[in-house]
């Protein structure tokens, strides 16, 4: 890691530490959970080139399991999160071993379909509460003595979880394993001929990504106190794809940037619209709040047509260009 | 090595003198890689011209560029005097060009006869050969008219590929390595066919690996190297050019 990067991460972390004093902590925690989710997703697409359209299954599925563990089984908080993460990994293992049988676009469709299947299972399983979802999941105490009822305390715990998850992702990308993944992404037949059992590597990457998505989902359940069908629905998978795409596929911090932008947009679009309406006196903007999906779709289209590298990708490409033109 | 303009050897051409194909300063890219650098050549109506060169010299790319099948192109390509550099592929074809690709391009979802019937006539006036004429020329194809295109033997596929473009009424044929992988009998048949076509006034540009196949057929030769024309001469000059060819191609 070079100096610039270190400084960048440092500033990011400081900002995260200070943020809850200016911004509603619950909202921040939500952003953090999604940022972790997007990073986990990016581990798969960005570094193995596999586009999954079924990540909601891990995120939401783990959310339910964690919620059930915390609420009905009454497990301690830390155990609940671990159980949720493990559930994400397990769902990932099952889905992954089916999906990696096909490549490219079929892989995508299969993950989407399997996730939808899990959606229906969650709809019907008695413990998920069907359309009502699991409600009132207790936050409990961390390690038995840190009261998580306080938003601020929970915020720092959540931040720590996310930073740990993020660190693991960075580590994975740079690990011997990450190196093999890169090779598989670049030239799969060649990797096979060098003796790598590529499907097992892909599967491990899939499971890792699923487990971290599960961690993100469990944490979200803990923060908001509920687990619902929204989190297992395919639109959630689409959302995480969008976050990653906006931030920059295959960049390390891109997904975080993307998550922040998309979540802020989703939640504040109404305010932004109202503000635009008062500033520009164009009434139409005040309806923007109801049109989140339209705006989301629009961003998707623009990204695919014009900014396939995403924000972070475009910026770093720009910097590279500048650097090379200087030298 | 600088590009050699073909105009110097026009005196030696067969055919009736009208320019069927004239390429000036052609550049072509595949994505980021710049493959053709200022290719210049011209072919007269009724001529048979062969492009020689090593693997990867850019001969196939030249043909594909004429058809508009590469990435970006620059320069000028005139077919029958009409500038086609900016046209889409299908319009280029409508100026009377038939292209037989290196990889043959037989469609597996079509039967032999469907493959043969696929290309539409390029214009109202120029009718291509009828299916009967084709079958007369290649009796094997008639025999296997109903089998799936890619089930044919390699030689038969090659025949089919060549026959297919004769159906369109194209008068300028671009033939890429049509002798490749064929049994000698078939290569001989192809040679006879080209002679026949030439006598009917077709204009032919060939890319050939098989020098012994191409040498007796061609009126003129161009030699390519690294995306440029580096040598051009008429068949009458073949003897004297042999040492050069040896150096360039190892033939």
């Amino acid at each position: 890691m070079n100096m610039n990067k270190k400084i960048g991460y440092g500033i990011l972390l400081l900002a995260a530490l200070a943020a809850p004093f200016g911004i509603y902590p619950v909202f921040l925690m939500k952003i953090i959970c999604f940022a972790l989710f997007a990073c986990a997703f990016n581990l798969l697409i960005g570094f193995t080139g596999l586009l999954s359209f079924g990540h909601a299954a891990f995120f939401g599925g783990a959310g339910y399991i964690a919620g059930y563990a915390l609420q009905t089984l009454g497990l301690p908080t830390e155990l609940g999160l671990i159980v949720g993460t493990a559930a994400g990994a397990l769902i990932g293992l099952v889905m992954g071993s089916l999906a990696i049988r096909r490549q490219g676009i079929y892989f995508t469709m299969i993950t989407l379909a399997l996730a939808q299947m899990l959606y229906f299972v969650c709809l019907q399983m008695p413990f998920t509460g069907g359309e009502d979802g699991l409600q009132g999941v207790p936050r409990g105490h961390l390690l038995g003595f840190i009261d998580l009822g306080n938003d601020l305390t929970l915020y720092y715990i959540v931040l720590a979880i996310a930073v740990a998850g993020f660190a693991l992702i960075v580590r994975t990308v740079n690990s011997p394993f990450g190196q093999v993944l890169k090779a598989i992404k670049e030239n799969e037949p060649r990797a096979i001929s060098l003796g790598y059992d590529v499907n097992r590597y892909k599967l491990l990457a899939f499971v890792l990504s699923a487990a971290l998505s599960g961690l993100a989902g469990s944490t979200k359940t803990l923060v908001l106190g509920f687990a619902t069908l929204t989190d297992v629905h395919w639109t959630m998978s689409g959302l995480v794809v969008l976050m990653t795409l906006v931030g920059g596929l295959g960049t390390i911090v891109g997904p975080i940037v993307g998550a922040v932008i998309i979540i802020v947009l989703e939640n504040k679009l109404g305010d932004i619209g109202n503000w635009l309406a008062t500033v520009t006196h164009i009434d139409w903007f005040s309806g923007l709040g109801e049109s989140v999906t339209i705006v989301t779709g629009f961003i998707f289209i623009v990204c695919v047509l014009a900014f396939r590298r995403g924000i972070v990708g475009e910026i770093s490409a720009l910097l590279k260009k500048r650097a090379s033109s200087i030298s | 090595m600088s590009a050699v303009h073909s105009s110097s050897s026009h005196a030696a051409v067969a055919g009736n003198g009208a320019v069927a194909l004239s390429i000036e300063n052609l550049q072509a890219w595949y994505g980021e890689s710049h493959i053709l650098h200022n290719v210049n050549l011209s072919v007269h109506t009724g001529e048979v011209v062969t492009l020689l060169g090593r693997n990867g010299a850019g001969r196939t790319t030249t043909m594909r560029a004429i058809m508009g099948l590469t990435g970006a192109r620059q320069g000028s390509i005139k077919i029958g005097g009409v500038e086609t550099i900016a046209l889409p592929t299908y319009k280029i074809a409508h100026h009377g060009v038939g292209y037989c690709p290196e990889e043959r391009g037989i469609f597996s979802s079509l039967s032999t006869e469907e493959n043969l019937l696929l290309p539409p006539s390029l214009s109202m006036t120029e009718k291509g050969m009828s299916v009967e004429e084709i079958y007369d020329m290649f009796p094997n194809l008639k025999e296997r008219r109903n089998s799936q295109g890619t089930r044919l033997s390699g030689g038969e596929q090659q025949m089919l590929a060549v026959a297919r473009i004769l159906r369109t009424g194209a008068r300028l044929l671009l033939l890429d390595e049509i002798s490749e992988g064929l049994a000698p009998v078939i290569v001989q048949a192809l040679a006879r066919m080209i002679t026949t076509l030439k006598s009917k006034g077709y204009t032919i540009v060939m890319v050939e690996q098989n020098f012994r196949f191409a040498a007796p057929l061609a009126d003129r030769f161009y030699v390519m190297e690294h995306g440029q024309i580096v040598e051009s001469f008429a068949s009458s000059q073949l003897e004297e050019k042999m040492p050069v060819l040896n150096a360039l191609l190892g033939v």
């Binding site: 509603y24 619950v26 909202f27 709809l123 069907g130 359309e131 009502d132 979802g133 409600q135 009132g136 908001l224 106190g225 509920f226 619902t228 069908l229 929204t230 989190d231 109801e290 | -």
Partner: protein, 378 residues
């Protein structure tokens, strides 16, 4: 003292989906009417209303509620249709110690297992529906039942309460099928119901779902051998389905626009704004806001606990409720009415749809103390 110098009311309901006709924008309008009728302010402090669409998702409802309480200093929350969201919001309001008026939702869980000191369950509940419509249908000879149930808190609650009534009256329940909220095609559910050979197909759903279920039943000729019993029918549903398809149906409701002069007068004002007659829920929204504001005005503070105490002391009297009162379990007790849908020929003017069969006194309409599972009412 009024916190934040405004009395802030929040309204979270289904603004765009299956239940938006029954409550939705009309409900918000009704609350605005109440605020206007209060003069827009109390002791010089402005009354404000914020509205959100929960899209029938409990997570959206509860995060919105939490955000409003934490961020906007919300003083009181009115919950609209959908029991799932209502249960979620009730928990948040209790955590924040603020009054929560629930109008649209029917689930009795709000005042039983999940009762809180801050919940005010205002309009109706599934117990009342089961004992009104349910027992009337059994009385008419419908002994064997099969349910088509909306697969969430409300449907389950309605099926459960009605099952109890059917069994108590000597009927049998042959089974049930659950459908997702806002289902698009009911034919297969209807056919499942049909294969049970029950006399009565009980529709434990509402709004758009009820409408579609009735249509599917007609398409496949299910009504030839079985009778449909809509367990929660609103006037808007009758309007959509037309009298032809609904005549003779029984329904239990808390209010009907044409019930008396006072209701007609209010309905007229509402009609001018919305071009539709109000449902009982929209009337309930008005009444709830009114009663809350009256209480705040009486004690001069919007402190949650004090307002709740004041509410428990009062009798509610307005165009919606007569002599109604708030029970310790959070139930507002008022009379319920059993209606029957008119035949097309009997309908004299637009929106003239219902005949009253009987009035069910409040004390009988709702869960009696003996059956209550609320720990606050012991």
């Amino acid at each position: 003292q009024i916190s934040g110098d405004v009395v802030k009311i929040g309204f979270i309901t289904d603004m765009s989906s299956v239940y938006s006709d029954i409550d939705g924008p009309g409900g918000a309008e009704a609350i605005k009417m109440a605020i206007a009728d209060m003069g827009g302010s109390i002791n010089g402090k402005k009354i404000e209303l914020v509205v959100a669409d929960h899209q029938n998702k409990a997570d959206i409802a509860s995060s919105k509620a939490r955000e409003w309480f934490d961020q906007q200093g919300l003083d009181m929350l009115i919950g609209g249709t959908n029991s799932g969201t209502a249960l979620a919001m009730a928990k948040i309001a209790a955590e924040k110690k603020k009054p929560f008026f629930e109008i649209g939702a029917g689930s009795t869980r709000l005042t039983n297992e999940e009762c809180t000191p801050y919940t005010v369950h205002y309009a109706y509940d599934t117990y009342a529906l089961a004992h009104g419509t349910g027992s009337q249908v059994v009385k008419q000879g419908g002994k064997s039942w099969y349910f088509i149930t909306a697969d969430y808190a409300f449907g389950a609650s309605l099926e459960k309460d009605t099952t109890a009534v059917v069994k108590a009256s000597g009927g049998t329940v042959l089974g049930s099928v659950k459908h997702p909220l806002n289902a698009s095609d009911f034919s297969s559910f209807m056919l499942q119901a049909q294969s049970s050979k029950a006399q009565i197909i009980g529709l434990a759903n509402a709004g758009g779902d009820l409408i579609n279920a009735v249509k599917a039943a007609n398409e496949f000729g299910v009504t030839k051998n079985a009778k449909l019993a809509g367990l929660l029918v609103f006037i808007n549903d009758i309007h959509s389905l037309t009298l032809k398809q609904t005549q003779g149906m029984y329904l239990t409701d808390s209010w009907y626009w044409d019930q008396n002069a006072e209701s007609r007068a209010w309905a007229k004002r509402y009609f001018e704004k919305m071009k539709k007659e109000p449902s009982s829920l929209q009337a309930g929204d008005y009444s709830a806001a009114m009663q809350y504001l009256t209480a705040v005005k009486a004690i001069g503070t919007d402190d949650g606990d004090k307002v709740m105490a004041q509410l428990r002391k009062s009798k509610f009297n307005d165009m919606y409720a007569k002599n109604a009162y708030l029970r310790p379990d959070g139930r507002v007790v008022h009379d319920m009415m059993l209606y029957q849908v008119k035949a097309p020929a009997d309908s004299k003017y637009p929106w003239d749809y219902l005949n009253k069969i009987e009035t069910i006194p409040g004390e009988q309409a709702f869960t009696p103390k003996a059956e209550s599972k609320c720990t606050l009412w012991k």
